[in-house]
Symmetry: C2
C-alpha cells in the first residue's frame, strides 16, 4: 500500500489538487467553508500525511535545523541540545543532530550533509579558536550563506553568521574575585587546549582578575577539555605543588570547566587528597550533574538550556543572522563547599 497523496485527497473531495493544497496547508485565502470541509474530511478518512520532502522541494524550505555538537554524551552539550530541541519544536522545526566526538573531519562532513539536506539553518555548538577554523568548513559555510542558509555558532565568534556566547571572560573574573573574597591567596589553574576559545577566555579572565589584585597563580597546567583531561592535569598539578594531606593552607584550583574539575577531584581522591581540606577547587558551567556531586562544586552557572533556545531564535531570525548579531549570556558565580577555606 502506497502512501496517500494530495492527489488522492483531491479526487475524493472532488476538487483540484491546487484547492486541496490550499486548504490543507496554510494559504492566505482559504476556500469556501463547504469545500474546505470536504477536503479536510477526505484527508482525515484517507489518513493523508503531506510529504515533507516534496513540500520542501516545491517551497525550497525544509523546516530542518542542523545542530552539531562535540559530544552528545557530555552534559554540557546535551543541555544545550535540549534547549535547541524545545525551541525548535515550538517553532515547528525539526532538528538534525550530529555529534562529532571532537573530530574535525566528522564536523565538516556533518555540515555538508546538512547543507545537502537543505537545512534552513545550522547551529554549531562547541568552541575553538577562530583562526584555527578549518578552511574547507569555512568555504562550505560561505556558500551556504550565499544560498540563504543561516549559521549560528555558540561559544565561538566566527567570521560569519550570528553568535550566542557566554561571557566567559567576565564571569571568570567575577569568580576570581569571589574566591579572593573567601580568603584565598594561593591559586592554580587547570586550563584547556590553547585552540579552544572558551578555555582560553576563561583562563584569561581568571588570571587577569587575580593580577589586578597583585596575585599570580603558582602553577598553570593544561589538559584536554574533558573529564580525563582534568584528571591527568590534576595529577601533574599535585606533583608540581607537592600537595599533601594536612597542609596548612590549601591552594585554590580553578578548572576551566566543571567536567575537568570533576575529573580533577577524582584524581586527588585517588591520591588521598580531600576537597576542600587539602585542596580547594572551582569549575565553570554548573552542569546538571553537579546537583548531586559531593562536595558541592563552586562554579559559574550558565543557563545551558537558555543558550540553546537563543541559538534557535537567532537561527530563525533572518536579520539577526545576516547582520551577524552577537548575543552574550551572563554567568552567575556560585560558591559551594569545594572552595571553602577552613583556616586552622
Amino acid at each position: 500500500m502506497a502512501a496517500v497523496r494530495l492527489q488522492d485527497v483531491a479526487i475524493r473531495a472532488g476538487v483540484s489538487q491546487a484547492t486541496a493544497s490550499r486548504v490543507l496547508n496554510g494559504s492566505s485565502r482559504v476556500p469556501g467553508e463547504g469545500v474546505a470541509d470536504r477536503v479536510r474530511a477526505a484527508a482525515a478518512e484517507l489518513g493523508y500525511v503531506p510529504n515533507a520532502q516534496a513540500q520542501a522541494l516545491a517551497r525550497s524550505s525544509t523546516g530542518l535545523i542542523g545542530l552539531v555538537v562535540h559530544d552528545i554524551a557530555d552534559p554540557y552539550f546535551s543541555s544545550i541540545v535540549q534547549g535547541v530541541q524545545t525551541a525548535a519544536r515550538r517553532a515547528g522545526k525539526l532538528v538534525l543532530l550530529a555529534s562529532t566526538q571532537r573530530d574535525f573531519d566528522i564536523e565538516r562532513e556533518s555540515v555538508s550533509t546538512f547543507i545537502s539536506h537543505r537545512a534552513d539553518a545550522i547551529i554549531l555548538a562547541g568552541s575553538r579558536q577562530s583562526g584555527d577554523l578549518d578552511r574547507d568548513l569555512e568555504k562550505e559555510c560561505a556558500r551556504y550563506l550565499d544560498n540563504n542558509g543561516k549559521v549560528v555558532v555558540v561559544g565561538q565568534p566566527l567570521s560569519f553568521g550570528a553568535a550566542v556566547e557566554p561571557e566567559n571572560y567576565a564571569a571568570s573574573a567575577e569568580l576570581a574575585h569571589a574566591l579572593l573574597g573567601q580568603g584565598h591567596r594561593d591559586f592554580a589553574v587547570i586550563g584547556g587546549p590553547g585552540h579552544i576559545r572558551t578555555a582560553v577566555d576563561r583562563r584569561n579572565g581568571f588570571v587577569e582578575a587575580l593580577a589586578s589584585q597583585g596575585v599570580t597563580p603558582l602553577v598553570e597546567i593544561a589538559g584536554d577539555f574533558s573529564r580525563d583531561g582534568g584528571f591527568s592535569a590534576a595529577r601533574r598539578l599535585a606533583a608540581a605543588l607537592d600537595l599533601r594531606h594536612g597542609q596548612a593552607v590549601p591552594p585554590c584550583v580553578f578548572a576551566v570547566s566543571d567536567v575537568m574539575a570533576i575529573g580533577a577531584i577524582a584524581a586527588w581522591r585517588e591520591l588521598g587528597l580531600a576537597v576542600p581540606d587539602d585542596v580547594c577547587v572551582a569549575g565553570f558551567d554548573d552542569i546538571p550533574t553537579l546537583r548531586d556531586h559531593v562536595p558541592g562544586l563552586s562554579t559559574v552557572a550558565l543557563s545551558l538550556v537558555d543558550i540553546g533556545e537563543r541559538a534557535v531564535a537567532l537561527a530563525l531570525d533572518d536579520t539577526a543572522t545576516s547582520s551577524r548579531a552577537h548575543e552574550f549570556v551572563p554567568g552567575r558565580v556560585i560558591l559551594r563547599d569545594s572552595s571553602v577555606l577552613h583556616r586552622p
Copy 2:
C-alpha cells in the same frame, strides 16, 4: 546566487543530466573514465552539492533516521543517542532527534513529523507498558510500516517493529543475589511508575529473586522515573523505615534506576543519613555520571552506547524489522561502596 544544480554540472561537462547523475551518485554502470572525469571536474569547480530533498523524492528514500527519546538531558538517553549517532553516521544516515520531555502528545507529534519527513526508520527509546500505548501512535506506526517504514523500539516490546531490550528482569535478579551474597537480609525497593515496563521488570526481577530465597522487602515505594522521583521516594522510605543515623544493621535499598538512586542518596544526605553506614543502596544502568559519584554506587551496567548502535543495525535491516526481531542485551552486576555492609 542560487545553488548549483546537477543540470549546471552536466552542461559544463558537456553531457546529459542523466550521465552526470550516474557518475556523481552511485550507479551500477559508471560511464567511460574520460566522461566521468569531466563530470567530476565540473562538479568540483562549480561546488555542486546534491539536493538531498530532490534525491529523496526521486528515490523515495531519504537517508533519515528518526529518533525519539524521553529526555535528551538524561545521561541514560544521551548515551543511547550517542550510539545511534555513531552507527548512523557510519551507515551514511542522518538522525532526526526529538526529545519529548516525557509528554505523550509531543511523542506522537514527533513521530508523525518524522513520518511526514519520510524517515527511512524510526527508533523509539524510552519504555512504557505496552498495553498503555497511545492508540493514535499505534495507528500511525501501523500505516508507516505499511508504507515500508521500519520501527525499532528500545526497552519496550511493542505489538510491531523490532526491539532491542535490556535483560532487566534477569539482571535485577542477579543483582538481588549479589546483594544477598554481601550479607544483606533487610531490603526495600524504590520502584517506578506502574506503566513503565522497564521499571516494572526490574522491580519484579529483584523482588522475585529475593522471594526465591525466602526474603521479602520491608517496604516498597514508587516514584517518578527520574532524579526527583528518587529523591521524594527516599524521604518517604526513610520515614516508613524510621531510618536513623547509627542503627545496627542498615537496610539495603534497590532503586530501579541510577538517577533515582542518586536522588535518593541526596535526600538521605539532607536527612543526615550516610551511605552505606546508615543505609545501603544499589541502582541500575551504570550511567557515565556514576564514574565520579561518591560513594560508588552498586548497579547493573548496561552498554547504553551499544544499545543505540544495535537499534540502528536493526533499523537498517529489512528482514529484522519485518520479522519483528527481538534482541536482548545483558546487564552486568557491579558492586561498589554503596552496598558494602559494615557489620558492627
